[in-house]
């Protein structure tokens, strides 16, 4: 499973462009980290992979499945992308439990996911009552429970203080190692990039 991405998109005065080739060392899972300063269009790349933003040209192939290009443009809801945004984006009118199962498909092991994320005790809480770290772990859980083919992580640690960062970092390492889900993550923090990335792409 790998990311084979070649896209360009004009946004106002700037052009966002990126090429990630499906390298041989990329077989199987692993985390590809997009690393670079703010404002260079890293989030736009994730949005294009998720289908929220349409590239002007190019192609997006994940794990051999074409999501965009060659006349194909798979709608967002069928791309099977687990997208964790910079802000948790939990649905404010649903409790944590209902947030987690929003995209869940039958047969997904909810307890296992809430277990390793350490959020099992939060299920009856409202999103507004969560700390930043808790909210971000719920967001990760919600993405995982939708049974994605791959994960998109947009600076998931930026809004957190140090101890909370460690919690979420460990959760991501668990996903990369144990769940073996391919990850495309955006960060501007070199330390994060080193620790999470099995491959680092500079933008």
């Amino acid at each position: 499973m790998s990311f084979d991405i070649d896209v360009r998109k004009r946004l106002g005065d700037t052009e966002v462009a990126l090429t990630i080739e499906a390298g041989p060392g990329q077989a199987g899972s692993g985390a590809t980290v997009l690393f670079g300063p703010s404002g260079i269009g890293k989030t736009s790349i994730l949005n294009m992979v998720a289908g929220l933003l349409r590239p002007d040209s190019g192609h997006i192939v994940v794990g051999g499945r074409t999501l965009f290009g060659d006349g194909i443009d798979v709608p967002v809801q069928r791309r099977r992308a687990g997208y964790v945004f910079q802000e948790a984006r939990l649905f404010p009118h649903r409790r944590v439990g209902a947030n987690l199962t929003y995209g869940a498909v039958a047969g997904v092991d909810t307890a296992r996911v809430t277990g390793f994320l350490g959020i099992g005790h939060l299920l009856d809480r409202w999103p507004r009552s969560l700390s930043g770290g808790e909210a971000q772990r719920v967001a990760i859980g919600r993405a995982l429970l939708s049974d994605p083919d791959f994960l998109l992580l947009d600076e998931p640690l930026t809004s957190l203080d140090r101890p909370r960062r460690e919690e979420v970092m460990q959760a991501i390492e668990h996903i990369r190692g144990v769940l073996a889900l391919p990850i495309l993550m955006v960060t501007h923090d070199p330390e994060e990039a080193e620790r999470i990335g099995t491959r680092i792409v500079r933008m």
Partner: protein, 229 residues
Amino acid sequence: MLSAEEWTVVLLSLKVGAAAMIVTLPVAFALAWLLARVRFPGRVIVDAIVHLPLVVPPVVTGWILLLAFGPDGPIGAPLERWFGVTVLFRWTGAAIAAGVMALPLMVRAMRLSIEAVDARLENAARTLGAGPWRVFWTLTLPLSVPGILAGAVLGFARSIGEFGATITFVSNVPGETRTLPLAIYSVLQQPDGDAMAMRLSAISIALSLAALVASEMLARRAGRGLHVL
């Protein structure tokens, strides 16, 4: 405290106001959603037409309704021919006039609240596998509840106060189209109508005040806890 005649007026006003609000609600919400979320050619024109009753003299709106729903009108003729129904001089006609006049207010309140629904949440739902309908039913609609309620109560209050379009369209028939404002107008034409006008005006003011307070409170209650992250 109130005479039988005054009770008739009050109950009729509530009936007309409720009917106008209930019938206009789905139309107003559909228009609000369309104007808030869909970019289509002619959007400005639709927006302007929706707001027309707010600025056009109510007499004109009433007269247009009369032409449309009259025995030879494009709506009135088929209504009469196929269903044997006429709305002229009937409370149903008063409700139509009130609903048309309340439409812009309702659309405005609902549109603001639909626009306030965070599109980022809707995008998150889409990445979780939700199609357009599921996004609408599970996010857009419940999150815009404050505006829907506020718009509904506001529309109800506006309907009860409707005068110009109503009297032009369905006249001033006691027990059928004589709602609060029309009744107040009628008694003011009589030499000794001051006391009754005073009582009916007090009821009008109380109803409007209650509606405005309720609309504000509903919006706040529904809005509590809805805006996080």
